[in-house]
């Protein structure tokens, strides 16, 4: 099972400019989490602080009992071997071809023979759909391929924690869908803890077990996906629906005058271009490709969420209960009659009772 990452009161600023304050969250072991946020809210900075590339001003980030913020450099290098990180642009070594890039961590950290390395590398390259491109240099391939190669390199050491910085940026929707599937399949196979930083709504709705959102220099919320997907929070609603109406502006925050003006435009029937349909609500989560083992995280997460169910907002609670199968209901001692057949929990379930507020 993947490692647990506990972040407590993490604060980061560059000079006088605060990036975010007091971010506290726990990445549950083996689960997939997504961190959403408008551009420029410091999502990548958060990711880099988590692996000790940037030093936060305050707070702790504990992985396997080691606080990354304060530990010694030797320890840091040791802990980092647990991580597989996919950088925004893949961050491949420009002087090496794809094969050597993917083989690099193996050659550095293991005593495997070249034959064994070759087997692993070709396996990972095939996994990311790059077979045949081993001899290409990073400069000779497309951005999407670089990204996939970066993922392949992040995976060779069988990491316990996988961090992905905008895996979808620069990829077309179809490839993004494949990448999402790949991440879920990976989670099913190696049970790693995964954190994806993105602003792709579709990915955020369908992939993660847990969802968080950074905005206005702080963590707006972080919790089971149902909580954020059904949230009433204006920021979350605006972001999930990709509208202009709401508190998020072009430069992070909007002033009241602009908000009022935009609201007036909208009230006057001036379409802001977003679809009328509310994209919130719990949609079916991506499942591993048939034939792969079940994701152990699903069971763990259900147990965890059911324990804190009473503390969740009503909408999220309803959504969670509606998504339980018949066996689940029995297991958790819920006697309410099942509203639909047990195997039917993959359909979209409208849980937002009032539609758009």
């Amino acid at each position: 099972m993947g490692a647990e990452v506990v972040v407590e009161g993490l604060t980061k600023s560059f000079g006088n400019q605060a990036i975010w304050r007091d971010v506290t969250l726990t990445l549950p072991p083996g689960e997939v989490s997504v961190m959403l946020g408008p551009s420029g809210t410091g999502k990548s900075v958060f990711l880099k602080s988590m692996i000790g590339l940037l030093k936060p001003d305050r707070g702790r980030c504990v992985v396997n009992g080691v606080d990354i913020v304060t530990c010694s450099e030797a320890k840091l290098y040791e802990v980092r071997k647990l991580f597989g990180v996919l950088f925004q642009d893949g961050a491949l070594f420009g002087s090496m071809n794809l094969y050597d890039n993917v083989a690099f961590p193996l050659r550095e950290h293991t005593r495997k023979s070249e034959a064994e390395i070759k087997r692993i590398v070709l396996d990972k390259l095939e996994l990311t759909g790059l077979q045949g491109a081993e001899r290409k240099l990073p400069g000779e391939i497309s951005g999407g391929m670089r990204k996939r190669a970066g993922l392949a390199r992040a995976l060779v050491l069988d990491p316990e924690i996988i961090l992905c910085d905008e895996p979808d940026s620069g990829l077309d929707p179809v490839r993004t869908a494949y990448l999402s599937q790949l991440l879920i399949d990976l989670n099913a196979q190696i049970d790693a803890t995964i954190l994806i930083v993105t602003h792709n709504i579709n990915l955020a709705r369908t992939v993660p077990d847990n969802l968080g959102m950074l905005f206005r220099k702080e963590l707006v919320m972080f919790g089971p996906r149902e909580v954020l997907l059904t949230s009433d929070e204006p920021v979350v609603e605006q972001f999930l629906n990709g509208r202009r109406i709401g508190p998020i502006g072009m430069s992070e925050e909007k002033d009241a005058a602009q908000m009022a003006q935009e609201a007036a435009h909208a009230a006057a029937g001036h379409s802001d271009g977003s679809s009328e349909e509310d994209l919130r609500g719990i949609v079916a989560q991506l499942e591993p490709t048939p034939g792969l083992p079940e994701r152990k995280a699903v069971r763990r997460r259900k147990d965890r969420v059911m324990q804190v169910l009473h503390s969740l907002p009503a909408a999220a609670r309803e959504g969670i209960i509606a998504s339980l199968t018949h066996e689940d209901r029995l297991r958790y001692g819920l006697t309410a009659p099942s509203p639909r057949p047990a195997h039917d929990d993959t359909q979209e379930i409208p849980v937002w009772p009032g539609g758009r507020p």
Binding site: Y77, D89, G94, P105, R153
Partner: protein, 262 residues
């Protein structure tokens, strides 16, 4: 930085200096950490040598010549023609050779190192390397700094020889000096420690050039343009440091090692 860090004029410069020194110490410490990157070291040596040998030789000849010409006229006025050789040997080996070497190692080798490391930094390659649990200092910087030092020492020898030969040529052929006197006076003023200090200077200058180039390369400000600026700054900073360190070393050397015959 945290709110606790107070800022005062010159704080930025001090901070940068501190970080530069920290990197220098890191390089020294990591030099002794296994596994040593032999391949990278040899490649870098070859690369730095290939971009510096020809320009160094070409600079050394006129350098030897101006020293010979200048000293030649001066010494004739003083009436000490027999010491022309000794004076030019001292000037070239002690001062000119290490400086010319260092300027070229910094200008040709250092700028290339800085550009290389800088572009790796903005492509996040350095970050990626750290995250993969490999120290970029040990893996990339140490071989480059050591290569710069080795090449500087070797080039220093080249410059000394070429410079002295240039001086000989100009003195004997153009100024009508006596070949015998030029050669015989070599050992009149110059002594073995002069050669040692020359090589030591080259070694230290090579180290400075390598560390400054690596430091600027690891910390470019914002994007591809930052790399260009970093290269520019690395060369300028190296030059400033070189002349200052040269001054200190010369002053110490003259105090510690007594001049020949005194």
């Amino acid at each position: 930085m945290t709110a606790a860090t107070r800022s005062f004029p010159g704080a930025g410069a001090l901070r940068e200096t501190g970080r530069l020194c920290a990197l220098g110490i890191d390089v020294v410490v990591n030099t002794f950490r296994r596994p040593f990157q032999t391949r990278e070291f040899i490649q870098q040596c070859w690369f730095i040598a290939s971009v510096t040998i020809l320009p160094t030789a070409l600079v050394a000849i006129p350098f030897g010549a101006i020293v010979a010409l200048q000293l030649g006229t001066l010494i004739v006025q003083l009436g000490a023609q027999s010491f022309t050789g000794a004076a030019s040997v001292l000037a070239i080996i002690q001062q000119a050779a290490p400086l010319v070497t260092a300027l070229l190692v910094a200008g040709a080798g250092g700028s290339a190192i800085c550009a290389d490391i800088g572009s790796r930094t903005i492509r996040e390659e350095i970050d990626a390397m750290e995250v993969l649990g490999v120290s970029p200092v040990q893996r990339l910087i140490v071989p480059r700094v050591l290569a710069a030092m080795l090449v500087a020492v070797l080039l220093n020898g080249l410059v000394s020889v070429v410079g002295v030969m240039g001086g000989y040529f100009f003195n004997v052929v153009l100024q009508g000096g006596t070949p015998g006197a030029y050669l015989a006076s070599f050992s009149a003023l110059a002594q073995l420690p002069d050669l040692w200090i020359s090589e030591l200077k080259a070694l230290i200058f090579g180290f400075i050039a390598g560390v400054v180039a690596a430091y600027r390369g690891l910390n470019p400000k914002g994007g591809p343009k930052g790399v260009g600026d970093a290269v520019n700054q690395s060369v300028v900073i190296t030059f400033l440091l070189l002349f200052f360190v040269n001054f200190v070393l010369t002053a110490v050397y003259l105090q510690v090692v007594p001049a020949k015959g005194s």
